[in-house]
Assembly symmetry: C3
Homo-oligomer: 472 residues x 3
């Protein structure tokens, strides 16, 4: 193999280019670089840590399950099937082909955070030193595969190496949380892995699978869900189950952020229509907005921090969804509105001392228009870190620029990785630390903040914010 371009992430990457600003940023970054990771929201499967099986191979670790990675290859003409999506376990030959497709497509990721994360992971976890390409694909595959076979590359060893202090998973309300219980009971394991209550499907009475879902909810909770009041009681019971297993938050992701009370028995009536299969789309939305308000009420009682991730058209490409299911890269953001949508919730509970609401958006227009003004007044409201498509260098900079004027730093959530890609957790948190260091360094360089305060702030963003916001 002729000489290949190296893969060598620079120690100063993502820090500001101006030499004087970079010097300040280096110092700030140095104060947080090695701090443990708090990950209060994400999608890692707890059984990965419970079972501690070696990861299979580079393709099924980095490519096939990660829609962040597959979508841009799909846009470039590579069918999802060729990337292993929807195909079940891959043979080694198949995995090598998937990996080769990634390496051959390396150029399409230029300038994207996917490229940034993968480079960090390959170089820093697996010691890869050449740039991926068709030519280097096999050698890199072999090197990673060889590492994955070693004990120190098993999930638990990596968890420790990554210095993860807290890791939250995302779980169905009917989940028995047995893996969480088993991990907690395991004397050989000291990591903190928390479940998160994610009840979306139980709030969408116009979904075809809703009747089955609430039926199962009734069974699991032991509370009849034949009426709306039964549903409320069953939800409360499942939340208690989650709290008992360490949960600190409940996560909500509907198409809009609407909250609106139903009155005069309308909730009972629409709930019954949902069970009868006669509820309309509009009525389903009305019931959901009422139920979300009820979820906030429960949070004021059981203290689960409420994270709200609205505004996505899921499964935008029907044929892809039919063939491959959900979460394969064809979800597309929508316009979003918080000011009026959340007003009923905030009028009721916005100053409640026990409520914590974290608001996420894929629509940047709400950054300065709604998020910062809301979080800059309501003690219950925090601005969620940039999410999904916006969890990226340029977007994170725009976010800090847009919200800091009105809400400062203290009203933000701390970094949220929201990932199902276990090995990307350190790279994602590291990216955030670098960018926050750079943003603060710019304030210092423009004499808008003293450096001692900037140091305190960057540490607070890594430690204080997530601990306060998620009540850890």
């Amino acid at each position: 193999m002729p000489s290949q371009p190296p893969l060598a992430p620079h120690p100063d990457r993502l820090l500001p280019a101006d030499p004087a600003v970079r010097d300040i940023a280096r110092r700030l970054y140095g104060s947080v670089r090695d701090l443990p990771i708090i990950s209060p929201h994400g999608h890692v499967d707890p059984r990965v840590l419970l079972d501690d099986e070696p990861f299979r191979d580079p393709a099924q670790l980095f490519v096939t399950p990660d829609h962040y990675v597959t979508r841009l290859m799909h846009a470039s003409g590579v069918p999802l099937e060729a990337l292993g999506v929807g195909r079940g376990p891959l043979s080694e030959g198949e995995a090598r082909e998937v990996w080769r497709l990634l390496c051959s497509s390396w150029h399409v990721y230029r300038g994207t955070p996917v490229r940034y994360w993968l480079e960090s992971e390959l170089a820093e976890i697996f010691d890869v030193t050449v740039r991926p390409s068709a030519e280097t694909s096999d050698a890199i595959y072999d090197q990673i595969a060889e590492r994955l076979a070693q004990d120190e590359y098993r999930p638990r060893a990596l968890f420790e190496r990554f210095k993860i202090e807290v890791l939250a998973t995302t779980d169905d309300p009917c989940d028995d949380l047995a893996p969480h219980a088993a991990l907690a009971a395991d004397p050989t394991w000291s990591g903190r892995v928390l479940p998160t209550f994610r009840p979306d499907r139980y709030l969408e009475a116009a979904r075809p699978d809703w009747v089955g879902s609430v039926g199962r909810l009734g069974e699991v909770s032991g509370v009849g869900t034949g009426t709306y009041s039964g549903w409320v009681e069953a939800m409360e019971a499942r939340r208690r189950h989650f709290v008992e297993h360490g949960a600190v938050s409940a996560d909500h992701a509907h198409v809009d952020a609407g909250t609106q009370p139903l009155e005069g028995g309308d909730a009972e009536r629409l709930y019954a229509a949902g069970l009868a299969g006669t509820i309309s789309t509009e009525e389903g939305a009305a019931l959901r907005r009422h139920m979300l308000l009820e979820m906030a009420r429960m949070s004021t009682e059981d203290g689960l921090t409420m994270t709200i991730h609205p505004g996505v058209r899921r499964d935008h490409h029907g044929p892809t969804a039919s063939r491959f299911g959900a979460d394969v890269g064809d979800d597309i953001p929508l316009q979003l509105e918080f000011t009026d949508a959340l007003r009923p919730l905030l009028e009721r509970f916005g100053t409640h001392p026990k409520l914590h609401v974290v608001l996420f958006t894929l629509d940047e227009t709400v950054f300065s228009r709604e998020l910062a003004p809301l979080a800059g007044f309501y003690p219950s409201v925090y601005i969620g870190a940039p999410w999904w498509f916006l969890d990226a260098p340029e977007a994170i900079r725009r976010w800090r620029s847009a919200i800091t004027d009105t809400a400062g730093f203290s009203r933000t959530s701390g970094f949220i990785d929201d990932t199902r890609a276990f090995c990307s957790i350190p790279a994602r948190h590291d990216m955030s630390r670098r960018l926050d260091s750079g943003f603060l360094a710019q304030l210092v360089a423009e004499h808008r903040l003293d450096e001692d305060e900037a140091v305190e702030t960057v540490v607070d963003l890594v430690r204080g914010r997530p601990k306060e916001v998620f009540q850890l």
Copy 2:
């Protein structure tokens, strides 16, 4: 008291960090730093200058009346009541406690313009040299209190020291403007203090207080307001009264920017329904959009510059509004649309030589999409300086970036402080001058503008723009 971190605003603060760009910016800023202040829109009470009483104390000067300051403390868990809001005059002990809350919360303002303004005011007006904190709170309180007792810290002395050339207040159409008249007649006073016509409440026929408002309007104007045509005549009379007292503008702040003529007697009909208390919310909005169009017609005749500040959900948190009233920090912005909303107005009067319309927004999405294209075609339309939540370093930079491509500099309003915090006026104008110098310096450094033109432009932004736009 052990050694405390200093408070020492840097002479180069807010200028670009790059050394070569900063050098240019310093020269540009030097050409405007000491120019007098023109403040054509704000909320200072004219009686402050008429009576010239000493300001009471630091808390009631800087904290209690200023929702810019109180809202972020409220978000951090400090009740508004603890900040003196809604409590009437504070005793010295209470004022010291309020001041201590501000100083103890100093860190939550990091990165915000509130922090920037307060630092400038404390250091440059009151010679404070230590950073506010729980430890330094009393010493700073004492130092400011001691200054406030001196004659040179009375309002008129500060007005001169601040080099305010023009100061506009904001006034109700029924106001007799006696303070303005008394100031103008005072031989010991030479400052220019102008009233501004702010008729919002008289245009909102669905508001509960509307019937009382138009009744009072009838009494004050001496024109019966029992019919729509009477209302028009009464408004014209009050505008004349304002023009006679030096007013140069009329200010309009409704939830949207809609303008739409009513035809065939609908205005008379809805007006009557408003008086009868039977008008619906939708009808009230329709009548208001018709009335705003009428206001534009009046401006083409009496020459009052029309400033439009739409798109805010006022009193978002009902319980706070019930207890503390309006303007206490819980107003939250909304999405905004100008293109279609203003079309009826602009089709009628958009090229009228006497009309000046200044458009303000809290929704940045209209910067490049609507504001710059409108002001880049219509000779009557000017782009208002960033307002309220957007009157802040990062937002001002985004604003210049977003509008200059299409509208250049000449279609902007000059800086508007819009403040009720008298002592913040110099800091706010200074911030704007620094940021405009920095933006222009960047253009020079990138060889997009010659430096002689940049100097001419930055001076024009401080002098020429407000004089032209507000016809001073």
Copy 3:
């Protein structure tokens, strides 16, 4: 004439100000500066090249026909008529007056791309060395006029000098494309000038001129357009005519991007209502959204790349439109939505290997929220270069910042000048090359991309993207 400020565009203009970043940018720019121009969408009249007549004079070359130039003077109080708009050919005296108005208004263009383009054109094509002003107006006029009389300033000579490799025009479906045919047949001419199929008016059945338009379509195509199916057939015939004359794309500019199938004979019914003059505005929009879907279906068959330019309120100022017609500067952008609007089209054809759709917007909110996510998943979707009001330095930087995180560089269209100002073509492409070099240099300086990859990327943006996207 006393000494005048020089006009001397700097070799580094628009490159980043930071010296180290600028060095990188210079190298990147050096690799594309002299590459030929591919212009796959614009509005130059092909007869200009066919006839190769000398351009008349500076005013009628640079001012009168170009609404980019006239609108900001109009906003500054110069009537369009005084700029020659709507007045037919100008005498030399009149032209000199128009030119003087431009030169006297030079300051209003500070910071705008119009100023940037004009400076480049004056200096680099016409060797002007003094800054335009009232004083220099006549001398500059004379200098340009003298050049325009020379053979090397005729259109064909400039086409060669500009190194235009491909130039697309924009044409009515009923156009016989005779100028294109004549140019292609001319043995003395080797340039590539392609027509573009622009069928908007034939899709708007509620427009007053629609019946006439489809009637003419029937005549020209030889296919009866008395029924919807006839309309489809006639459209297909005209597209074939365009393909035979070298067309590579069809351009679509409606008020929204909606695509929605009509079913059960509704298309036939609404089409008939359109012919009968009884169609409503809403029905007209419904039929147009169905027809646009049909246009996509045709593109999957004949391979014409589909460009979509929606979201403008045309002729915003009725009185101006009545007097001067369309395209005189009073078009104003609107809010835009792609996610749901395009879903029916993309569900049907979004993964079709022959479909290429390029999406343009004047509403920046869709950059990161919709455009990048759509183009980052659908292989048929490309992100169009910033258009019209956004084809400007600051907007182009915001655009790259907003889309690159999610869509990288490969999903973008390459630069589109979209101009009717022939002499501005090199300046516009050069501006884009400088800005892309600067953006990439920033990535290199922040260690986010290796320089060899940045070079490959900037060349690809100039050559590879337009060739792939427009199938050249």
